[in-house]
């Protein structure tokens, strides 16, 4: 599983960080950092939740 963020859409709403903090972090500089571009399968449910809750729909999972 590969996590892809469209930074043209991302506005650091940080809902992804709430859903999957192991993978997404919005830092002090207000930018989103993808901590693991290829997270383990164990994190799939959380990453799928992040995809779902992002209001800008800026995240995709590429398998």
């Amino acid at each position: 599983m590969k996590v892809v963020v469209d930074y043209d859409l991302c506005e650091s709403n940080a809902l992804c960080m709430d859903a999957a903090p192991e993978v997404f972090e919005v830092r002090e500089d207000d930018n989103l950092y993808v901590l693991q571009e290829e997270p383990s399968e164990a994190l799939r449910a959380k990453v799928e939740q992040a995809v779902r809750v992002c209001p800008k729909q800026a995240i995709k999972i590429v398998d």
Binding site: L9, N13, D30, K56
Partner: protein, 395 residues
């Protein structure tokens, strides 16, 4: 592919004052997830499930916001973000959105939001009673926009009057046009001053911001300012009103919030916004004939995305018509979704939370003095909904 001769229902979801809006939507949704009804008198495709509404909002490609907004209200409000698509939208949104980032919201609470809330309450606290709509909710977001922009205090009443009149396009078109002109004449010299001598207000930020080598023109700034009223004042005041209405008519829920306001105000607001989204339908117009998720959508078809319908979809929310501050609902459609997701959502939520906290703190034993005529109803027809009055006593 054409609009069907016989509609599924003749109900006009925008013009009719339905006695039980939630019940009507529930029945319609149970019949079909998408159906042909009426809106503003015209045959309209209504989307009624969370799944379809979310998918349509995400599908800017098929159902671009611009196809609807590009044609309407632009002479009063100007051409704004809702009228834009693709790169133009992305760049313009990037120019204005930094001031509304979530991270900046806590910084507005002490200097801006709390003082405005307290000021409004100071005006009526001594009386022991008030109409929270006339004396608080209908003023609060207008004052906040005014101060955020750094507009002069002496013009606050005037700006609010212009803001309200600009929204009344359907019933008072000439007045709306006039208000729009007067507002722009008022702001223009202030804007020019801020281009030369920027301060730390939002108007200065708009005057000097740059993205990919582009700045905002005077017209673009005026258009954005005028968008702030329907998008940022009208909606917020209705949402706050609906939250207060729900708490004042559900004593057990109010008790939960009073038990821990610092934590619960936020969730009470979130749940109220789910149950009674101020924008209860989001309009779209389909530009090109398409078969979308098995639904035939003719070219030019007006559409209405059921925001309240989606927010009360039993497929997503258990016991969806119940006001439950412990619900903490996710993926509510109140602020839209996708590319045009409300850029003021964080500000709106923070405003609501702080207003609620201050009201509950300053006005103990808050209660409605009557339920007569107190209900959530259509304001600009039924596109926008909220309570028109909240007569309360306190102390």
């Amino acid at each position: 592919m054409v609009v069907p001769d016989t509609l599924d229902i003749e109900t006009d979801v925008i013009l009719e004052d339905l006695p039980d809006v939630a019940g009507t939507i529930r029945e319609l949704r149970a019949r079909k997830p998408a159906m042909w009804g009426r809106a503003f008198g015209a045959p309209t495709l209504l989307l009624l499930t969370h799944e379809l509404v979310q998918a349509a909002l995400m599908d800017e490609e098929t159902f671009p916001s611009a196809a609807f907004y590009g044609d309407v209200v632009t002479d009063v409000l100007g051409r704004n973000l809702q009228c834009m698509y693709g790169d133009e939208h992305r760049i313009n949104r990037a120019l204005v959105s930094p001031a509304f980032r979530q991270r900046l919201m806590p910084g507005l609470v002490g200097p801006l939001l709390e003082p405005v809330a307290h000021e409004l309450i100071d005006r009526f606290e001594g009386r022991g009673e008030a109409d929270l709509v006339a004396e608080f909710t209908s003023r609060y977001p207008f004052l906040i926009i005014n101060r955020l922009l750094g507009l002069p205090r002496h013009a606050e009443e005037e700006v609010r009057r212009w803001g309200i009149t600009m929204l009344d396009i359907q019933r008072n078109y000439e007045g709306a046009l006039q208000a729009s002109r007067e507002f722009m004449e008022f702001v223009d010299p202030i804007l020019q001053e801020r281009r030369d001598n920027p301060g730390d207000d939002l108007l200065s930020t708009l005057a000097t911001t740059e993205e990919e080598g582009q700045r905002l023109t005077d017209e673009e700034i005026f258009n954005f300012l005028r968008l702030l009223f329907p998008a940022g004042a009208d909606t917020t005041y209705l949402g706050l009103g609906s939250t207060l209405y729900r708490l004042l008519t559900n004593a057990d829920q109010l008790d939960i919030v009073l038990g821990n306001p610092a934590e619960e105000c936020r969730w009470a607001g979130e749940e109220a916004l789910r149950l009674d989204p101020p924008t209860s339908w989001i309009p779209r117009r389909n530009p090109h004939e398409v078969q979308w998720r098995g639904i035939d959508v003719p070219a030019g078809a007006p559409m209405m995305l059921g925001i309240m319908a989606a927010n009360r979809d039993p497929a997503v929310y258990d016991d969806p018509d119940r006001f439950d501050v412990k619900r903490h609902p996710q993926v509510v459609m109140t602020f839209g979704y996708g590319a045009h997701f409300c850029l003021g959502a964080h500000l709106a939520r923070t405003e609501l939370q702080i207003a609620l906290q201050v009201i509950l703190e300053r006005l103990p034993n808050l209660r409605l003095t009557t339920t007569d005529g107190v209900r959530i109803t259509g304001t600009i027809h039924h596109l926008l909904r909220g309570p028109t009055k909240l007569p309360v006593a306190f102390g």
